[in-house]
């Protein structure tokens, strides 16, 4: 060996130190570490159980969160992100049902007052939902939902006619007996025929079909939105259902205005009109996508918190177990470490080999945990459609992050101990 060779060695080693650890070398050492794990599969399995359990819980929790977020997005999309629903009747439960006796205080005049004061901020469509009305056409009878609402219904719900004409202000003013059909009702009553211009009876009151609504399909909650008929509100109140109250006021906030401030304004206005002084309970409920999101989220939050805490505990316990098994098995591997140092392993190489083992074992634990955790995520929504669970990229991101973290955090002490061994003593 020449002096130049030695000088070369020294400069190479300096360059390596400056460059830290080259990726090819890291890969080589990691592959070697994988082999070491493979040769002691039973021990490796023990080492990964804790991580697997933790990641399984994490996967389920993230699946629940993602499902909740999906459900919220669906509901928001279905509801309309800038929409407000005012329902007749007090209480805090959401939904259009409510308490019947409390549901008669919302009047058309309330909607008209909102329209005249805040009509520039929002489209206002008052109306009545009537479930299970009897509808007949020719020899065919069926039951369907009747929506009695003003011409603003289309804009307020973003739901327009596909064929024929919508309900217009003349129809509203004259209590015209005209109907706009949803796709399902149209098919049920008229089959393949064009229903426009045809006659039908709603609760024995004769109507003429004026238009067809675009098809919206089945909603996120699983009901057929096309199973409905839209008639003028005045007709519904006076000619079909004979009632002087309405069940809802739908608002769609115009682009330059805030949903929250419109909610405040109409709350004040309705309380004033109904002479309600808090803490007296409102006799109406105002529902926005935010409100629904909060309710759905608060239902899931406890499960998320408990599940998340359990996942964290499992990961920590798993990490401690991992560390102790690594420390225990270190003594068996002392000769191996001495040999590798003699063959040219730097302290850092030994550190990397042992850290690779702990990280790899955690990553295998992660794979096992994700697979196990995906079982409830995929199965539960099938068994209980109300339980929202979904697979999300976050599942994999969190799983990778946490398992790598466990491997590094709990692997570093055994790895440093291995790297610091005196090679001469290790070889003895």
């Amino acid at each position: 060996m020449s002096a130049a060779d030695i000088a070369l060695d020294v400069t190479t080693s300096r360059r390596h130190r400056a460059a830290g650890l080259r990726p090819v070398r890291l890969l080589r050492l990691a592959r070697h570490a994988a082999g070491a794990l493979w040769s002691q599969k039973a021990k490796a399995f023990l080492m990964m159980i804790g991580t697997a359990v933790g990641i399984m819980l994490l996967t389920a929790v993230v699946g629940l969160s993602a499902g909740v977020q999906n459900r919220i997005n669906q509901i928001t999309a279905f509801f309309g992100p800038r929409s407000i629903m005012v329902f007749a009747g007090g209480g805090h439960l959401h939904g259009a049902g409510g308490r019947a006796e409390a549901g008669t205080t919302l009047k058309l005049q309330d909607a008209q007052a909102i329209q005249s004061q805040y009509g520039y901020e929002a489209v206002v469509a008052p109306g009545i939902f009537s479930g299970d009305a009897n509808v007949k056409a020719g020899g065919v009878g069926t039951q369907t939902h009747i929506v009695s609402s003003t011409p603003d219904y289309s804009e307020a719900f973003d739901w327009y006619v596909q064929e024929g004409e919508p309900i217009d202000s003349d129809d509203e003013r004259s209590m015209a007996r005209v109907a706009v059909l949803g796709a399902t009702v149209a098919t049920n009553l008229f089959g393949a025929e064009d229903p426009i211009g045809k006659h039908l009876f709603i609760n024995n009151v004769p109507f003429v079909v004026k238009g067809l609504l675009t098809s919206k399909g089945t909603s996120a909650m699983g009901f057929d939105q096309d199973d409905r008929i839209w008639i003028p509100l005045s007709t519904g109140m006076n000619r079909v259902f004979h009632q002087d109250y309405i069940r809802f006021i739908r608002l769609k906030v115009r682009p330059d205005y805030q949903v929250a401030s419109v909610v405040d304004q109409i709350t004040q206005l309705l309380r004033q009109r109904h002479r309600i002084v808090p803490p007296e309970q409102d006799d109406f409920r105002i529902i926005t996508p935010d409100f629904i999101a909060q309710r759905v989220q608060s239902m899931a939050r406890t499960t998320e918190l408990v599940g998340g805490a359990l996942a964290l505990v499992a990961l920590l316990v798993g990490g401690v177990v991992l560390m102790n098994i690594l420390l225990l098995s270190l003594s068996e591997r002392v000769p191996e470490i001495g040999l590798k140092r003699a063959l040219g392993a730097r302290q850092r190489d030994i550190l990397v080999e042992f850290l690779s083992e702990s990280v790899l074992v955690s990553l295998f634990g992660m794979i096992l945990g994700v697979l196990l955790g995906l079982v409830p995520v995929l199965v539960i929504p099938r068994l209980f459609p109300m339980m929202p669970m979904a697979v999300s990229w976050k599942t994999f991101a969190y799983a990778a992050l946490f398992s790598t973290g466990v491997g590094l955090l709990f692997g570093v002490q055994p790895a440093r101990r291995a790297a610091k061994l005196n090679p001469v003593e290790a070889l003895r």
Partner: protein, 225 residues
Amino acid sequence: MIELSNIVKTYLTGGVETPVLHGINFTVEEGEFVALMGPSGTGKSTLMNILGLLDRPTGGSYRLAGQDLTTLDDNGLSAIRNKRIGFVFQLFHLLPRVSVLQNVLLPFLYTEPYPPDAKERAKSLLQSVGLGDRMSFKPNALSGGQQQRVAIARALVNEPSIILADEPTGNLDSVASGEILEIFDRIHREGRTIVMVTHEPDVAAHAQRVITLKDGAVATDERRN
């Protein structure tokens, strides 16, 4: 090649100083085959560990090919161990979980850049020590002599200029020892520098030069042709 001047080694264990080497001076030329002899406990292994850069002397200087190595850090020493020094141990020190071939490839784990012909080199070395048909075996399926031949192949795979062997035949019967020594003779003929510790005069007879240590110092240093 190897220049030792006044190498001192004192172990310090639990506050107790154990002086082992008291000023070792000798030079080994390139291509020499040196046998290191002496009674047990006299410091031969200690000296070999210093020569192999596994341990640092307490005093004195060690120059390898003119370069003072006492100032190098762990990374620098590791790189030189990897490329320039091949170790053969009494207890073979093979990695039991990997194949014979993988054992021979082990030094390349730490070699930068990784030689593209690593596998070919390992295979041809295994063939040259008569183990061409055992490459996929695990070490414990081999006899002691065969295991030591694997260790020699491993020591040679990175083409080091120095081979350090601490009692390489100490655990072998005479037939296996003979085979091992034949291999050492061959690699000596190929021009490598060899320092070998042994207790047995007939083993030392393979070397051109015998250095005897006694009480941590060089007692005799004889060359023969």
